[in-house]
């Protein structure tokens, strides 16, 4: 009896609280994005008396010479480029690190750990980028994301490679596969599930990143989507409807990822939990 009461009573209360605490704020974004400027300025959580949702979206997209559209292009290029490089290079390291016991392993392992823990030194990184001629370029920001994100990829790949039987490698070697072929033709395809996990987790991270874009890619010409909201605040404080239309637009891509890849995202983000 007690468990039935808990199941329905506790569950209902939890659902109610979750709706108020987590869903209502999100609905506030949607409602405000649908209001006229005058109505939005009251900051009320209410159904818009007049829906101008699509007009607002169109205004936000066209504003300042299609800045947001250009930012979406930039963010897409950034995310795809950085994640693709990270996955391939991270898998290569994770694979060799797990398969081969060499005297370099302790060093590489501690560098990986350092990469996860130590906060990057921003101004010296700008100094290096400037020396390479990559400061304020998309390529530079991609390279920075690769450098900072590799550690996480390597950890996941190393753990997953351990589950692939070595007999497979040996069979491929017997069949005459060289190291490169062994990795890219035999092992890499077997990493598929963890690759999906790494891709979605890192894609969400890179797409949502604000700090590195602020430091390494300042300026309107090649703004990423996260920076557009920030420009919005300082430029048009009173247009809350447009601000929230912008926030809504940049929130949607990660949510779509979440709907399709919920299992992989959760697996990737909680991967340390069981093993510590």
């Amino acid at each position: 009896m007690r468990s039935v009461a808990w199941k329905w009573g506790g569950g209902s209360v939890a659902i109610l609280v979750a709706i108020v605490v987590f869903i209502v704020p999100f609905l506030f974004i949607v409602f405000t994005a649908g209001k006229t400027q005058a109505e939005a300025s009251f900051l009320q959580f209410s159904w818009p008396t007049e829906w101008v949702f699509f007009e607002n979206l169109a205004t936000v997209l066209q504003n300042r010479d299609w800045l947001l559209v250009r930012a979406f292009v930039n963010s897409t290029l950034l995310t795809v480029g950085a994640v693709a490089i990270m996955v391939v290079l991270g898998a290569m390291v994770g694979y060799v690190l797990q398969r081969r016991k060499s005297r370099w392993n302790p060093l590489v392992n501690s560098l990986v750990l350092a990469g996860l823990i130590i906060p990057p030194a921003v101004v010296p990184t700008i100094w290096v980028l400037q020396g390479l001629g990559l400061f304020k370029t998309l390529v530079g920001l991609i390279a920075v994301h690769v450098a900072f994100g590799l550690s996480f990829c390597i950890l996941l790949f190393r753990a997953f490679v351990a589950t692939i039987p070595r007999e497979l490698d040996e069979a491929a070697i017997i069949d005459g596969a060289g190291p490169v072929k062994l990795f890219f033709r035999v092992v890499f395809p077997l990493l598929r599930s963890v690759i999906v996990t790494v891709i979605v987790v890192q894609a969400v991270f890179v797409f949502n990143d604000f700090t590195y874009a602020l430091y390494f890619l300042p300026g309107d010409d090649n703004a990423t989507v996260q920076l557009t909201t920030f420009n919005y605040i300082s430029q048009s404080v009173s247009s809350f409807n447009l601000l929230f239309a912008d926030v809504l637009l940049i929130t949607i891509p990660p949510l779509i990822m979440y709907i399709f890849f919920q299992r992989q995202i959760v697996a990737g983000m909680t991967s340390g939990a069981v093993k510590g």
Binding site: W6, K7, G10, G11, I15, A18, V21, F22, P25, F26, F28, L43, I85, L89, G90, M92, V93, V96, R100, S102, W104, G115, I117, P119, P120, A121, V122, V123, P124, T125, W127, V128, A143, V146, A147, F148, L150, I173, I174, D175, G176, P179, F207, N208, T211, L214, Y215, Q226, L243, V247, T251, L255, M257, Y258, I265, T270, G272, A273, V274, G276
Partner: protein, 311 residues
Amino acid sequence: MTTVTAAGRTATGSDATSPPTTRKRKPMKSPYPSWFFIPAGVFYVVLFLIPTIASFYFSLTRWTLFDVEFIGFDNFVRFFQEPQLVTGFVNTFIYAFLTSGAKVVLGLLFGVLLSSQIIGRGFLRATIFFPVLVSTIGVGILFKVLMDPFDGPINQTLAVVGIQGPAWLTDPSIALLSVALVDIWKGVGLATLIYIAGMVAIPQEYFEAAKVDGAGAWNNFRHITLPLLRPATVTVVLLSLIGGLRSFDLIWAMTGGGPGFTSDVLASVIYKQYQAGFFGLSTAGNVVLFVVVAAIIFPLSWWLNRKEADQ
């Protein structure tokens, strides 16, 4: 394992996928080449390792990217003398420990709750987790509006039940705590899911055995769940401390370090000094942050993992 190759190759030479190999191979060459480290290593060394090492030198200089002047420890002295920089230093600890403590407690609570048999479990898990994936800047902007002292929906709702809501982000004494509250709102879903993953890994036999021995719910929790969730706790503590100590975007979006500099943390001080053109001072802040993170995380993870091995 490489010695097998020479003998085995002729036997399977007819295999269509492998071209006939007439190429000679050195007998001791590993099929797992070390050069696989190199491409990743280039990115890592050039953009992470070199800047980190260089930061120790630049933190001792007055620096404008074009002009470097060595000034010894002046930057660090300044860092611990100017009140606004000291505030940022202290706030970093408050913020990190507050958020990570709350995430451990709430994450454990929600993790246990959402592992029990209640209706709407899938919905609840999905709901509590989605803020983790939403852009931090978006969340910051949203709550800046919700926490508006006069018109904000939070205080208007409180006013309906007769409570005078505080000036969340404009009251110097609670601005940092308000931001920390939002950080917890955003991050508790991750902690919860880590705990759920830990709960799933606990074998049901333990609970069945305890039931035979007549253990109640509390005893189950205290003596089975809690000790076996230790790896999950370690993960939550380390992850949220690492994130909390270096957190920047949420604070920047909500208060910009204000009012005044009362909600500044090290990361926002670093950005402000960089913006003001004090690159040496900014880098000194980076070094301080580095030392703080290293001095907390490395001993803590060593201690937490050692205790785990003892049990």
